[in-house]
Amino acid sequence: MLIAMLEAFGRRALQLFETTGQIVILFVQTLQQIRRLNIRRTILQMSHLGVDSLPIVLLTILFTGMVLTLQTAHEFIKYGAQSSVGGVVAIAMGRELSPVLSGVVIAGRVGAAITAEIGSMKVTEQIDALRVMATDPIAYLVVPRLVACVFMVPVLVVFADAIGVVGGYLVATLYAGISSFSYLHSISVFSEVNDVTGGLIKSMFFGGIVAIVGCYKGLTTAAGAEGVGRATTESVVLSIILIFISNYFLSLILYR
């Protein structure tokens, strides 16, 4: 019983290491192909993966900023610290909530789309067709998506930061009775540029994770429509896990 459990655990651990290794290899291969970047395809991906994700990211982060303010304002007012609410919301949004939650939303929307698209191409031999036509699938499919995600996710996070703080402002002033001046003043007192730039640097990593994991899961899809479904789920789950794990270590480095 115990041996069987250990064996199963070992098998899963080996599988995880193997997957991680293969993802790293794909990442290195993608970097090697980056000189073949096709600007037109990359801009198309930026529009498709980035701009089209703006509404859902804004909606998510707007409500996150609102609920964060709702909870903090209530407690802070109790202790007479209402003049700190704006700063706390801005720091929390800039450093953690905007980049991480945007990353999660992007993993769900963009990561799934990337895996489903490339996975369908794989099972219908379109990836083979690319290779037959002397076109490297990594240069053609992975490079534009990686570049698009790495550059567009920080752009989305800039908007997310802004809308999060605006959401907080609305709740603080209209619901919690904190004055407009107090909210805005505390932002300028407490928060620093580093709070935003750190979050943007993190979001570049999250964009990279979503793109590479999405492409990897797509390129390794097997066994028809069912395989595409499974790969898509795995892609989203793995991206989200990697975003949370890497977020801890990135925060450790960036905000020491």
């Binding site: 698209e117 369908s120 191409m121 219908t124 031999e125 379109q126 083979d128 067709a129 290779r131 037959v132 036509m133 002397a134 076109t135 490297d136």
Partner: protein
């Protein structure tokens, strides 16, 4: 002149032997048809020749180069002289018919858009799909997709065209149309063609020579007449769909 040569090629997937000691010479300008029951590894031979798969052992020569150990980059140079028509067409479903046919031209030539449009028009006319440039693959029938796939494969006027089950799943009239297209393409371009099929009528119509693959070995190679008159009972059974036993003919494909 020999253009493609397989020497003592072995192939196995995950320890399961597909075929062993395959030897086959294909002359320049020849139409070689490979026949054999489903699952005998016919398509695998095409994938080995175009470098989508690497053999477990043996050598594969194309235009005087031994390609079995070539990297993807080196292989891409060889592939620019080859085209392939896939069993399920493998058209890029995010692109129109015209863009599919233009794909290789855009990737590998410096043609202007005008020149590309002219070539696309010409190739589509060759396959009887004049004016279909703007149709999307999902609007086409199976036979039309096959024809677009053929137009795409010959867009760069390749020296070698590989056809993987070009008539599978098509009605007899459309099968006949595809057979005639394979023949007329060869006449116009003077290309070498390797056709994998299990339709004997197609094989007899278009082949210069036929090779029969059975249980992992090539059991017979010869001209159409030689294959028709083969003394090998397995070949006879495959051709006529029944076993000749003296005066009595047993129906069915017991051996296969």
């Amino acid at each position: 002149m020999i253009q493609i040569q397989l020497k003592h090629v072995d192939m196995a997937f995950h320890g399961r032997t597909i075929f062993q000691d395959i030897n086959l010479d294909i002359a320049k300008g020849e139409v070689m048809v490979i026949i054999g029951p489903s699952g005998s590894g016919k398509s695998t031979i095409l994938r080995l020749i175009i470098g989508l798969l690497k053999p477990t052992a043996g050598e594969i020569w194309v235009n005087g180069e031994e390609i079995s150990t070539y990297s993807e980059n080196k292989m891409n140079k060889i592939r620019q002289h080859m085209g392939m028509v896939f069993q399920y067409s493998a058209l890029f479903d995010s692109m129109s018919v015209g863009e599919n046919v233009a794909f290789g031209l855009r990737q590998h030539t410096d043609h202007t858009e005008e020149e590309i449009a002219r070539v696309v028009r010409r190739k589509l006319r060759m396959v009887g799909l004049t004016g279909q440039e703007n149709a999307m693959p999902n609007e086409l029938s199976g036979g039309q997709k096959k024809r677009v796939s053929l137009a795409r494969a010959i867009a760069l006027d390749p020296e070698i065209v590989l056809y993987d089950e070009p008539t599978a799943g098509l009605d007899p009239i459309m099968s006949n149309t595809i057979d005639r297209l394979i023949a007329s393409t060869r006449r116009r371009l003077g290309n070498t063609a390797i056709v994998v099929t299990h339709h004997m009528s197609s094989a007899f119509d278009i082949a210069d020579r036929i090779a029969m693959l059975y249980e992992g070995r090539i059991i017979e190679v010869g001209t159409v007449d030689e294959i028709r008159n083969s003394a090998n009972p397995i070949v006879q059974q495959f051709i006529y769909g029944r076993k000749k036993t003296g005066k009595v003919e047993e129906r069915g494909l017991e051996l296969l």
